[in-house]
Symmetry: C2
Subunit: 649 residues, 2 copies
């Protein structure tokens, strides 16, 4: 039923370079990787301590002291290893490679004969391995190490880490399964499933694929299973956390789930594996569920920024259209997971809508997750921030008014790092006869065009400008092939030229536009996407946004910041009828297109000290003002202050 | 410096009767008192179990089983006893009196020789009495029993309960104090202070007043004291609860506190005692602090409904102007406490503004706390409710979409009961030479007018109508005296006639208008307050209310309900320019004045299934509709549905 699957760009042969992503990807080797390594080694004294590397040294018997941090603290190292591996792909660095190898050696010394290496259960509760699937995250940690092992092998060809994680994966396959003598159960936090698929992809070993399929198939068949296992375990790793079946997506078999429920990161990690397995197992039920849950997320449960999971308690989905702005959770990791899921859906369907969603998540929430300095992070990504309330109203204690250096639960920083280090794998795709460009990142992509080696050089100022030039280089002979270009859903018009000659495009809405011809060395595709800034609205069902509008330009959501508009942003009202003007500003945020529009500010001058008073007639007590908006992803790079996406109009 | 103090109406000689309060006070003996007694005796099977009476029986050795419920579960009985006592004052009921006496006998059997009777620490941790002042609530429970003992003595003259609580109060005085050998410490939850003042008022025993003064004076001098005592105690009664010093108002000495902080109920109970002590100790520093904190609450931290405490986590104050509507806490008990505080401030200052605030709290939030059926209660009083989110977004799990039959923490139901049973004590006041009418409740008030017995008969349809008739009856001889009438802050005009003759009133804003003359039997005061419905606004600092308006008529805040306006209330916008019409509706809510105004509803018809889309020009996609509002206090008496106070305009 599924006919083909795009491969992502080869991690070793692609490199994103453009003025937007350079702000972030340029930081990966320079700042992000070293900073996070120092943090995991507890070398940065002023921040929340990690203890991550300590745990490995202690588990190897090389350092005193017990386990410290979250039960899944090991996964920080795993995600960092994956990020570091990806970074090496585009920028070789012998020192970094040596550091990675030493970390791999340490992991090897921790791993026992059975293949087990989770430091939490080596240092504590040795006899309780694999028992508390609800909370213990052992399969989650294992999954992230598999992803690291696969990436490091793909980039360097070194198989030591791959062999370590294979041994661990074999242990998992021997431990969990439907066969007599194996344990029942599914992971409380999905991740192992998509990781086992990746392990299958590089090893060709079917048992990994089958184990992933087993976990997905069993999920939700017995909704109380994880709770029973937890009861047998006998204590709480996370006291007070409500792990009801929907929290872990175990409330119903995955093929019968109609709405995205529970912990948002878990949900999209699960969906990522389901999309992979829909392909490899040609499983229509899984594909249907993926499409249904994608629709539920993107049509009812997603912020305009691509953030998902609106509740702080449980970091979870709530109900359709419940998207409060100032108390949003919208975890950085959840938007990364959404992009991972959409990438896989795009790979197997080629449907451009998934690329649109991926783009929304990456250019807004994921990018917002990290400072332009590369060493501060948002875990939570609200659409409205009033610092005073963040500090003093414990109901929104999860919303931080500024990016943090590290977290007690530090899942996001290394997750952002590995995502930034592999942006090209979200952008560019190939199958036997065609190439597909899903995201208009600039850069260099060495690939195979219908069997022929080719290098695509992509130059653009996207997303500040809608022009993209794609030059086909190093193509040794003329090659008939199809190149597919995404027509984003947000554009009104998209024009394409090949070697200056206009291509007739009969398309509207989001779709892939295929150009089929015989390509030759030096061919140039030029794309021009209409990218006027626009006022957006949410459907009236979204309570928080009624009577409000948000500014967008291309895929970028904009926001008002106190730095440009003064404080009390809630007192501002925009007048959409007066239009929007664009200003390229080189003096702020490393160069950015700002949007300006006319509006009004509620006047406080004629108020005494009263809190409430009668409305004075029908006239609004307002003063005209100019509003200046900057891209949401860049907010909070100019000190602490208020921020607002949805403005009253 | 404080020259006089009004006494509240004698509990035995006053009775509120009007069409507003009859809905509630009429229920007190008929429904509320018996229902709550059955609940505390665990005779109502379908609801949250109380275990309250069981705890007393177990502590008396008359029933098997240990302590159950909250550490302060005993206080439910205490508040119920006070409510029942007040109820007897206006409606004798031998069966109820017998029940009370049996409960008093039970308490007597629980009390040990030292005077101690807290069942939690009799049944558990006998050796830890009076140690964990941060969490254990022993002084809070003791205070509520003192209030019950005082009320029952005042109403019936029976002193058995009074003697029991005196013995307990003596134990407290012997245990805590500045003297050598006594314990240091202040209560984690204030209540004992105001109760000891009440005990002093009926007994004349100075040590009770001094003990209250001691607790107030010590409070906050040593901010970490309660935390240190808790550490010595060694475990957590409320795991996870953050009891930082501001939570308990121990962050600074009370005279140095500038903002209302922490748990809202505690703050206003503390302030109530401070107001009392400002009078009895002629303590200017306390009076200043009371005025300052009153200003902070009413000018920066109070909902338009008189609700206070905007955070669910910690049931607490947050920061100035942080008044979110859908996640409001605004506990019923906190508004009761605000009324208690304002009553005391009115008693010692005679300033009408305190009566205005008291009225706002009582007619809106306190009344909203109980159903018209008398047996369902709101603990939390939000100003916007979307039932689906209340059920599915754990961030607002504290907000219940419907009143509940009982609560695990059942502080509010009996607190509402005792307040309803003593409304006249908030309304009517007397001192040597004058009477003061602070609230325009109807009813009968037997009092002393400058030394002469008189009965005031007050007839009104207030708050649905602004006319009040006060007839002076049973006045045996002509008496020169002053009668003070509150001019509410919300009225534009107030006219007064005595025996049909207009009295010249030169006043604006909130104030007391004094009529000094020689009164005689049969004199009639007629008051006419302009009470046009009005659109209100919050100052622009209140983020949640910017661009919104609320409807009020007199002291009543109105709201939209789904029952009258359909669902998706957020899609509605009101047009204030088109005015408000009033409709007396006898068919709903036991007879109620509804307010109607013109508005618009955001149209969903031209939407597909997309979540976001560009704004279509500047034109709003709206349809005209009629909006119908009902008094906020009566909401949720017609089934589960949405509710909204602050409407977009």
């Amino acid at each position: 039923m599924l006919e083909k699957r795009y491969e992502t760009a080869d991690i070793r042969k692609a490199c994103v370079r453009d003025s937007f992503w350079d702000r972030y990807t340029g930081q990966v080797p320079e700042r992000i990787i070293p900073y996070q390594w120092d943090m995991m080694n507890d070398r940065i004294s002023a921040e929340e301590k990690s203890g991550c590397i300590h745990n490995f040294k202690a588990a190897a018997g090389e350092e005193e002291g017990g386990f410290t941090g979250m039960v899944f603290q090991d996964s920080d190292l795993a995600k960092w290893l994956e990020a570091a591996a990806c970074s090496l792909a585009t920028r070789p660095d012998p020192d970094l490679e040596k550091t990675i190898d030493e970390a791999v050696d340490l992991l090897e010394r921790v791993q026992d004969e059975s293949g087990y290496f989770d430091t939490r259960f080596i240092l504590q509760e040795k006899d309780k391995r694999w028992t508390n699937l609800l909370e213990a995250h052992e399969l989650y940690v294992a999954g992230h190490f598999i992803e690291a092992g696969v990436a490091y092998y793909q980039v360097t060809g070194k198989d030591k880490l791959l062999n370590i994680v294979r041994k661990n994966a074999d242990l998992i396959c021997d431990t969990f399964g439907p066969e007599e003598g194996k344990r029942a159960g599914v992971p409380g936090h999905e991740e192992i499933e998509l990781a086992l698929v990746r392990l299958y992809q590089v090893t060709g070993e079917e048992r990994y694929l089958d184990e992933a399929y087993h976990f997905i198939n069993e999920r939700g068949k017995d909704p109380s299973l994880l709770l029973r296992l937890h009861e047998e375990y006998g204590s709480n790793i996370f006291p007070g956390l409500i792990c009801d079946p929907p929290y872990n997506q175990t409330h119903a078999p995955v093929r019968e789930q109609d709405t995205a429920e529970g912990h948002a990161v878990r949900a999209v990690y699960m969906l990522s594996a389901m999309a992979d397995l829909a392909w490899y197992k040609q499983d229509e039920g899984l594909l249907d569920a993926c499409e249904r849950l994608y629709d539920n997320i993107t049509k009812k449960r997603m912020y305009i920024t691509g953030g998902i999971g609106s509740a702080g308690v449980g970091e979870r989905f709530t109900t359709d259209y419940d998207l409060p702005n100032h108390s949003a959770y919208a975890e950085s990791c959840a938007s990364i997971g959404l992009a991972m899921f959409c990438r896989r859906m795009f790979q197997i369907t080629g449907d451009a809508k998934y690329a649109d969603t991926m783009e929304t998540a990456l250019y807004n929430t994921v990018a917002a997750g990290i400072s332009l300095s590369g060493d501060r992070f948002f875990y939570v990504n609200p659409l409205e921030v009033w610092p005073d309330a963040c500090r003093k109203n414990p109901d929104i204690a999860h919303v931080k008014e500024e990016r943090q250096g590290w977290f007690a639960c530090a899942c996001c920083p290394p997750n952002i790092a590995r995502t930034l280090a592999s942006i090209h794998q979200y952008a560019w795709y190939a199958d036997e006869g065609s190439l597909a460009i899903a995201l208009y990142t600039g850069g260099r992509w060495e690939t195979t065009l219908a069997g022929e080696r080719a290098v695509l050089e992509i130059a653009t100022e996207y997303p500040f400008d809608g022009e993209v030039r794609i030059k086909i280089d190093q193509l040794e002979r003329e090659t008939p092939a199809k190149i597919l270009l995404r027509r984003p859903g947000w554009t009104q018009e998209m024009q394409i030229w090949v070697n200056g000659e206009s291509i007739s495009v009969q398309a509207s809405g989001v779709c892939m536009i295929g150009i089929e011809r015989t390509w030759k060395q030096g061919d140039e595709i030029r794309i021009q996407m209409e990218m006027k800034p626009r006022f957006m609205q949410a459907r009236p069902d979204v309570r928080a946004d009624c009577g409000r509008t948000a500014l967008m330009k291309g895929p970028l959501v904009y926001c008002l910041e106190e730095a440009d508009n003064g404080d009390d942003l809630q007192a501002l009202r925009v007048d959409p009828a007066q239009g929007i003007t664009e200003h390229m500003r080189d003096d702020i945020l490393g160069g950015v297109m700002t949007l300006e529009c006319a509006g009004y500010r509620l006047d406080r001058e004629d108020w005494g000290d009263e809190l409430y008073r009668p409305l004075a007639g029908a006239a609004r007590e307002e003063k005209p003002v100019k509003l200046t908006a900057v891209p949401y992803c860049f907010w909070n790079n100019r000190g602490c202050g208020e921020m607002l996406v949805w403005m009253r109009y």
